[in-house]
């Protein structure tokens, strides 16, 4: 099951034939652009510029069209992310329950601003505007899993676990 925007467990190095096959497999439905881009990102972890002409060709649209779509949607990444993606919910319900303290903590302790990756490559921090977990605010998402009732201390623990994991890996 493609977990939207979560990096693949084992990002595959770029291989044109393999990418073409991923595109082909997703391209059979009407209006296939988003399914194709999700599939490529699921395969490579991001969407490198070499993919743009391949998608354009497969879907019979211009490169500019593909580029436009990539730029429009927040999910599509142009550069490889860290091994884990961490989203902090910035929307109102989470704000009401202290999301800002988590943001501040991430900034001070990880030294990370949004869209940045830790130096050890363990994680990339992203903002998100509601995870549908507002009754358990504040919420964060790590890859495909959502965590509720977050606070700076639990957040730090969560992040440390992710970073420790990459050290042993």
């Amino acid at each position: 099951m493609p977990h939207a925007s979560a990096p693949p467990d084992d990002p595959t190095p770029f291989n044109t034939d393999a990418v073409r096959e991923v595109i082909r497999a997703a391209a059979s439905v009407p209006g296939a652009m988003l399914p194709v881009l999700h599939a490529v990102q699921g395969h490579l972890g991001h969407i490198p510029s070499e993919v743009v002409p391949l998608v354009a060709q497969a879907l019979n649209v211009s490169r500019a069209e593909v580029q436009g779509v990539l730029d429009f949607y927040h999910d599509f990444r142009r550069a490889p992310p860290g091994r884990h993606l961490v989203w902090i919910c910035r929307a109102e319900s989470c704000q009401a329950m202290g999301a800002e303290a988590i943001e501040t903590h991430a900034r001070n302790h990880l030294g990370l601003a949004y869209h940045e990756t830790t130096a050890d490559g363990a994680l990339t921090l992203e903002p998100v505007y509601c995870l549908g977990n507002c009754a358990c605010s504040p919420a964060v998402r790590v890859d495909g899993e959502i965590h509720g009732r977050m606070d700076p201390i639990r957040f730090e623990k969560l992040v440390e676990e992710l970073r420790a994991e990459t050290v042993t890996a």
Binding site: A4, Y73, H74, A91, S93, C130, G132, C134, A135
Partner: protein, 529 residues
């Protein structure tokens, strides 16, 4: 006899440790040699009790929560498998006041059993509405929905039956039913809960819609922020197809309808229906000019019904029990029930399905139990990021579409976000503009540029730089956005801003009530969604 124990697999319950609890229960049961049948149900919506574990007893289901994995041995020791009392116990689930006071029509089944279990779905009244619909001529079917008074639950409140009728009358070889499952509004989670907890109900509603208008294909456009809902829907569609509810010949009627779930890519604007169509067709989510209405020329240029998850999921019960049954709930032109969602700084956050006409006071205090922090609730945003902020003086206005419209507020998707007295409303107003700037599709200037300017002007006001001049500028900017935007993102982002300014001027450093008075008497042009 093996005890049946329920531990939700809803993503909200999982977010607070339901998986660990489920594992702990299995491990403890094995160690004690006490056989347990674990059921992974949806959530009953009492989120402050999640992970909420239920045990089936002869008297009914008994609830325990919030349960941590560490509590599990103690629960076993207390005899929870037989429903014995424990400090985490709440007695019979159905008697918990939060649940007992609700009027669950759309959410009747959510949380009762395993979401993907088709047999359970049928046993609990599933597909009764569909079977009735398949026996009715499409005209009568549409009339039934019109008569129920159901209005679109996605925000705009447009009568569902009227929309269906337009699509039904359109002549085309292919028609579509598109379910708007983008649920981008912050403070809302009812679509997610239903998709995760009772996916066949949505599928049933979509089949009925397809039957009513003569559509052959359907799409569910689900946001990428909901990975669990996406996975469950994909499985549910496959199982429904295998059982003959979807495909070339639905239940032997000769009617064809098939369904696909599509993933959005993180763009709030793709919840706007025409932007969603662009996205489904494979383009940037730029809002389309209307007309033509999607009902006439929608997906791939064909007549298309676009409805919110809640609208479609309310259709099966309307068909099963009749339009009069549904219409008898509610007040005035707001008929039926709405699953309200209590969020933000609230003690008992969760889902409360009630007939229209109750008040915020009832929701916030009778159900919500006041703020989570124990401090006074100062402001409440109703209806998502484009909804107004309401002060305590508005908490007694009945929640019905028209009454809310009269106070320049909107019920929208029923999300209710509470803030305690530590909230800085100037910050919230700034955030509303910032959000609009981040999520603008960029098609029109008032929204794309205006929201950016709005952030800057609010910064100047808060900093006390030429405050009165900037207040006038902000007011005029809001007018431009309201009147000059193509869709409700730019057109309604001024609502949270103006309401914050009107009701909480002190937070902006304004010490006179001059502005507030002027705003209060001003009429705001009608909204479009």
């Amino acid at each position: 006899m093996s005890a049946r124990v329920f531990v939700p697999a809803d993503s909200g319950a999982l977010s607070v440790g339901a998986e660990q609890v489920a594992r702990a229960i299995l491990a403890e049961a094995e160690q004690r040699r006490e056989p347990v049948t674990l059921v992974r149900n949806g959530s009953r919506g009492l989120y402050w009790l999640e992970p909420m574990v239920e045990v089936e007893t002869r008297a009914g289901r008994i609830a325990y929560g919030p349960v941590r994995a560490e509590d599990v041995p103690d629960l076993f020791a207390a005899g929870f498998l037989s429903g014995h009392s424990h400090r985490l116990g709440h007695g019979l689930t159905d008697h918990i006041p939060y649940l007992a006071g609700q009027e669950r029509l759309t959410f009747a089944r959510v949380g009762l059993s395993e979401p993907l279990n088709l047999a359970d779905y049928c046993e609990q009244g599933g597909f009764v509405g569909l079977r009735r619909a398949l026996e009715m001529p499409p005209d009568a079917l549409i009339r039934e929905v019109t008569d129920s008074g159901l209005r679109g639950r996605g925000g705009a409140g447009f009568p569902t039956g009227v929309k269906w009728s337009t699509v039904g009358k359109a002549v085309a070889a292919t028609k579509y039913v598109v379910c708007n499952a983008d649920e981008g509004d912050s403070g809302t989670f009812s679509d997610r809960m239903l998709m995760e907890g009772d996916p066949y109900c949505l599928i049933e509603g979509m089949i009925i819609a397809a039957r009513a208008v003569g559509a052959q294909e359907g799409y569910i456009y689900s946001r990428s922020e909901y990975p669990h809902a996406f996975a469950i829907l994909a499985s549910a569609i496959q199982r429904a197809r295998e059982a003959g509810y979807l495909g070339p010949d639905i239940l032997g009627t000769g009617q064809a309808f098939d369904l696909e779930v599509r993933l959005g890519a993180g763009a709030y604007i793709c919840g706007e229906e025409t932007s969603m169509l662009e996205s489904l067709e494979g383009r940037r989510g730029l809002v389309r000019f209307k007309p033509p209405l999607p009902a006439i020329s929608g997906l791939f240029g064909q007549p298309t019904v676009i409805n919110n998850v809640m609208s479609l999921a309310s259709v099966p019960v309307i068909l099963a029990k009749g339009s009069a049954f549904y219409r008898d709930y509610g007040v005035g032109r707001s008929q039926g029930t709405l699953p309200f969602q209590l969020a933000g700084n609230i003690r008992h956050g969760g889902l409360v399905e009630k007939a229209f006409g109750l008040t915020l006071n009832e929701l916030l205090y009778d159900y919500g139990g006041g703020s989570a922090s124990g401090r006074p609730i100062r402001a409440v945003q109703v209806g998502g990021p484009l909804g107004a902020y309401l002060p305590e003086s508005r908490f007694d206005v009945p929640l019905d579409y028209e009454a809310y419209s009269r106070i320049d507020a909107m019920i929208g998707h029923g999300g209710i976000v509470a803030f305690d007295d530590r909230v800085d409303m100037a910050k919230m107003a700034r955030y509303a503009m910032e959000f609009c700037a981040i999520e603008s599709c960029g098609k029109c200037t008032p929204c794309r540029i205006g929201s950016q300017r709005g952030v800057e002007i609010i910064d100047r006001i808060v900093a006390g730089r030429e405050r009165s001049k900037n207040l006038i500028l902000l007011d005029s900017l809001c007018d431009t956005m309201v009147n000059g935007s193509l869709c409700a993102l730019g057109g309604m982002a001024p609502y949270p801003v103006r309401s914050a300014l009107q009701h909480f001027p002190a937070d902006f450093g304004i010490d006179t009530s001059g502005i507030a008075e002027r705003e209060r008497t001003e009429t705001v042009p009608s909204r479009r969604i």
